[in-house]
Symmetry: C2
Subunit: 394 residues, 2 copies
Amino acid sequence: MLNQTYLQMLNQKSVIRTLNEYGAQRAKEIGYQNVFDYSLGNPSVPTHPAFTQEMIRLLQEEDPVALHGYSPTLGIPSVRQAVAESLSRRFGLPYTADGIFMTSGAAGALAHALRAVTQPGDELIVFAPFFSEYSAYAQGAGLTLKVVPADTKSFQIPFDKLEEMLTDKVTALLINTPNNPSGAVYSAETLTRLAELLRKKSAELGRPLFLISDEPYREILFHGAQQPYPAAFYEYTLVCYSFSKSLSLPGERIGYVAVAPRFEGWEKIVPMCGQISRGTGHNCPSSIIQLAVSKVLELTSDLSVYETNADILCRELSGLGFEICRPQGTFYIFPRALEEDAVRFCEKAKEFDLLLVPSDGFGVPGHFRAAYCIDTEKVERSLEAFKKLADCYR
Amino acid sequence: MLNQTYLQMLNQKSVIRTLNEYGAQRAKEIGYQNVFDYSLGNPSVPTHPAFTQEMIRLLQEEDPVALHGYSPTLGIPSVRQAVAESLSRRFGLPYTADGIFMTSGAAGALAHALRAVTQPGDELIVFAPFFSEYSAYAQGAGLTLKVVPADTKSFQIPFDKLEEMLTDKVTALLINTPNNPSGAVYSAETLTRLAELLRKKSAELGRPLFLISDEPYREILFHGAQQPYPAAFYEYTLVCYSFSKSLSLPGERIGYVAVAPRFEGWEKIVPMCGQISRGTGHNCPSSIIQLAVSKVLELTSDLSVYETNADILCRELSGLGFEICRPQGTFYIFPRALEEDAVRFCEKAKEFDLLLVPSDGFGVPGHFRAAYCIDTEKVERSLEAFKKLADCYR
């Protein structure tokens, strides 16, 4: 009677959500300030005031019938135009409104991008460590996920392993830089090599391989680090973006797919996304949120707390003997655990009310993710707990 | 390279959208006021001021980190609770928050409800005339649409035909009352007979048949007509709702799936919807819109203009010789066309700048839909065009 696939999925509880729920429960017992919850990637700084002001202005001044009326499936034309202009200005590619599809956050963007350039049964390549929901996205689009193992020294792409995995069943690759959970930023060298490999392999296959670039952390970079723009390196790139992190709006579900006019057939992708929407029930993101975001496209929240927290954690955890590939962006750090079994290590951490996510769900063993989108004061107070945890392994 | 299914769908342009685009073009040529555009079901009255006030209050008074933070996948708990309480109070069923799943409008609700209670390959029964996007929803969920032909006298259910079509491949039925496009309201008698038939058939099959009730027009009723609540008649009912029409918020994409605790396993449906979301990229509707709507659940826009317009059109079109089943709600009227070929009839109407939608896309031949969510003044000015159109057939 009920759908068997989804019924069985009920048993696969998200490790992160479970941990976060445990944290909420524990906070009731010992007080919120005493639980060092590094589980969830929920921004901890307010949105830019200009977003709030524009929302209020729209509500006070605009005709409500137009303001809350149907957005076209592909997004509100003026919003798509503004996104295209901003991307062109910032990244030097000739985007037009026809290449912009407004979505409900990055999840919505990825759901459409994946379906547009693959057929069910195809293989999708992802790179460990990867955001654990990629498995669900691939499953939803009928794709088989193929995971390139991580280079845990640099978290750049291990090209020898990638090349082995580029079978003729692969139609798309999904990258995420700056990376959740490692905080690594793909270098220009990595992106150049990737583009060269994909062009070579596409020529062999007689069809283009598509690159899907998931970029919600694009603006969260530390100490002047730059994120080279993947679509500038490889033509067949679909950029998936969300304003969740840059503008601290994760609950408002607003993002886009961007396709630059740099390959034959590019202009079909966005209208195809519109067709995909009809079957998934996506339709379009909230109209008022589209309009408000379009006025603050190049603003961000004050993201400096993430850099501050990253610095403290890198310095202090290194001092405690943790092996860390220093994050260049995001609000995650991904150190090696102090024992091989990351799950057991994170269970041990809970004894000190330190909530860390074991790395297994990200496709890498023996590490943990700490999401430091929390107050700096709390990061500082958590150091004692990290010290006690490390002491258990001396 | 590109997905073949969606690529081919690009050629199937929506008749309604095409007509509406023609109208916008024509308005540029002869002036907006001279185009009688009855094509789109876009509410023409403003939202309730209390919604706007609550939005502004949230933006001015609430902590932006919490306000715009991630909503849980199933919806914000306080919002789900408020919806459950309101439904229980209004319709007498014992809803709890566990039975409420917040969605991006009715399209999002239907996408989840359909997937939860069917398996790909199953048959879904719909009743002509039906909202044309049902085909896309069924296709998206991998279902075969089976259309029960219309009883064009009453637009109630023709039970003899339904019974014939209830094969053992059917797992769900989708109803829409008040109905787009006919404006018909299923009577208590119709819903009682439907429930009896479904119970009988479920017993034969040894599994429950599910009823999905699409109710975006629930509050738009004329001259004191009542809409009996389908879920009160049949236990295995998933209610899909949208605030698009009642609160004139179609662009804000806000609605829900509601399941009452009246059958074994009911409590699994909403968590399953959460799992479905992971693959479709739905996640959750905008958090601020969820919060604002939860404060105005029992308010509506001033919907009286639709009744006024319905009255004018019924009276005047009947006078011109149109055969009409009087709408009891919605903002649609669905008269018989003055020639057999509805497409040709609607083409003829365009000569008088009267934009009517031919009935073929709704699964019924020989009728047309007029969406009278436009100003009454324009309805009145359009009567001359209807007269000229009717004169062509004398």
